[in-house]
């Protein structure tokens, strides 16, 4: 049903924009994090209306289900309170410049001044994405796994339990 799809798209789009705004506007870090979860879920809904079910499931699983839980855990552990807004001057100027550039590129995309990137209409199921990963994009895929492995080894090295004599050596 065409009408329902359109309605779903607009509902999800509006939700995504509102919750993305709330992420920035909220002074309370936990409320910001929850708004970000809302934004991720809305984007996952947008993927669904585009027939990209696999991507949508992964979006919820990875971003909303794992990464944001970790974010929330750290925020709660540090018990951050309301953050004062005291960006230094240079940060404000850089942020403003970046937003203007993004807005400009969005408008030029919408007006059709730049050629839009073409995507294949299939790309929905897990099997198709797996096929592409292990043929056309094998090298970037393996590189990304290597990067993650390095990060993991690094974390283990930093967090491992040290023997008492080692700690003395480090302090000396």
């Amino acid at each position: 049903m065409e009408v329902l799809e359109r309605v779903a798209f607009y509902v999800m789009a509006v939700l995504a924009v509102i919750s993305a705004l709330l992420v920035v506007v909220n002074r309370n870090p936990v409320a910001s994090a929850m708004s970000l979860v809302g934004a991720f879920l809305a984007v996952a809904g947008l993927y669904l209306t585009l027939n990209a079910t696999f991507l949508s499931a992964i979006q919820v699983l990875v971003y909303a289900g794992a990464i944001m839980v970790l974010f929330l855990f750290v925020i709660m552990l540090l018990n951050l309170e309301r953050e004062p807004f005291d960006l230094p001057g240079i940060g404000r100027i850089a942020g403003f410049g970046l937003s203007v550039a993004l807005l400009f590129s969005l408008i030029s995309l919408a007006l059709g001044a730049v050629a839009r990137p073409e995507t294949s209409a299939r790309g929905g199921s897990g099997a198709e994405i797996g096929d592409v990963f292990f043929s056309d994009y094998l090298f970037p895929f393996e590189m990304a796994s290597l990067l993650l492995l390095v990060a993991m080894v690094g974390v283990i090295v930093v967090a491992r339990r040290r023997k008492p004599e080692e700690e003395e050596e480090e302090q000396a």
Partner: protein, 355 residues
């Protein structure tokens, strides 16, 4: 009626059935939990309200509804209010992806026994069950109380740790089934134990092909639903009530409901992935024609019976095992379950690729 109208009507009817089943199981579970615990502790349990105390859950419900709805003065009001709902919504959504019965033909159309038959169903299930943690974590944080905060923190750490082992154990099952669609996973488990005569693939219940994955998933399921021995987020001996210390009335009972529906949901996933869904040995020789409504109802009964056995197991374990210590919980998750699950995937992958 046009095809789309039939589709939406069937969708609504199935949604209603699944929703009623999920909600209807909650009072039964509460009653069963209290009676089974009483049985195990050699006492009577609730036996005053109604015959055999069967009306006790309803009396409890009236009591909870009539209680004062307290919001702590310095709590974050909005988050405090939506947190209980956040624990309830994902388990309900999980239920709509579970194929609870075989499909049947109605006026030339195939009616499926599942509300949403997604090609990536199992991923959606994992995604949804990973969202349950927000209710507990946010509820704990928004209460502005140290016990609640500790409970919320524990729940988020615990969920992240056990989700990994759970997801990877599912991966091995997917290697055997070769599909992400839940209905198809069930259709591959037609026999109790044995191979498919034509293709030579495994066609028995996955629990026999993947016993290790089953155990890992089961343990992770206890952790994900915050049931003993993994109920650290509400450990009453150290944290008063954990994340729901400050909650009262209907908000408290929503947390309660979320836990029980979560149990129903995770048991259904176990049945689908490992216990052959609605299949049962000898079911086809009963004389009921497959593809008809009676067969669908029979399948639904088998499915519910399997869930019932698992739920009894959940309750039984709760009243048998003591609670883990927090460091033990983390050690089991990261140093035992995760390496075992990875090893299982490695071996399964090698066997599947080799055959």
């Amino acid at each position: 009626m046009s095809d789309t109208q039939v589709y939406y009507l069937a969708f609504l009817v199935k949604l209603l059935v699944v929703f009623t089943l999920a909600v209807g199981l909650v009072p039964i579970l509460v009653y069963a939990e209290r009676r089974v615990s009483a049985l195990m502790q050699f006492r009577w349990g609730p036996n005053r309200v109604g015959p055999f105390g069967l009306l006790q859950p309803f009396a409890d419900m009236v009591k909870l509804l009539c209680k004062e709805d307290l919001v702590p003065e310095r709590a974050s009001k909005v988050l405090f209010t939506i947190a209980p709902a956040l624990t309830c919504i994902p388990p309900f959504l999980v239920m709509s992806f579970i194929p609870v019965a075989p499909s049947f033909a109605l006026a030339g159309r195939e009616m499926k026994g599942v509300v949403v038959d997604s090609p990536v169903g199992i991923l959606l299930l994992l995604a949804l069950s990973s969202l349950t943690v927000y209710g507990l974590a946010i509820g704990g944080w928004a209460s502005n109380s140290k016990y609640s905060l500790l409970g919320g923190l524990r729940s988020s750490a615990q969920m992240i740790s056990y989700e990994l082992a759970m997801g990877i154990s599912v991966l091995a099952v997917l290697c055997v089934s070769g599909t992400l669609n839940l209905s198809e996973i069930i259709y591959r488990q037609t026999q109790f134990f044995g191979y498919d005569a034509q293709s030579g693939n495994w066609a028995g219940w996955n629990i026999f092909a993947q016993p290790l994955a089953f155990v890992i998933f089961l343990v992770a399921a206890f952790a994900e639903t915050n049931r003993l021995p993994f109920d650290l987020p509400e450990a009453e001996s150290e944290l008063v009530g954990g994340y729901h210390t400050e909650y009262s009335s209907m908000k408290f009972s929503l947390f309660f409901m979320g836990e029980y529906i979560g149990m129903v949901g995770i048991s259904s996933v176990l049945v689908v992935l490992f216990l052959g869904g609605w299949h049962f040995p000898g079911m086809n020789s009963l004389g009921v024609q497959p593809g008809t409504l009676p067969f669908t109802l029979l399948g639904l009964l088998v499915f519910l019976a399997k869930i019932g056995v698992l739920l009894f197991f959940f309750i039984h374990v709760r009243w048998t095992l003591p609670r883990f210590r927090y460091d033990q919980l983390m050690r089991i998750g990261w140093k035992v379950l995760l390496p075992l699950a990875l090893l299982n995937v490695l071996v399964t992958g090698a066997v599947v690729a080799g055959s």
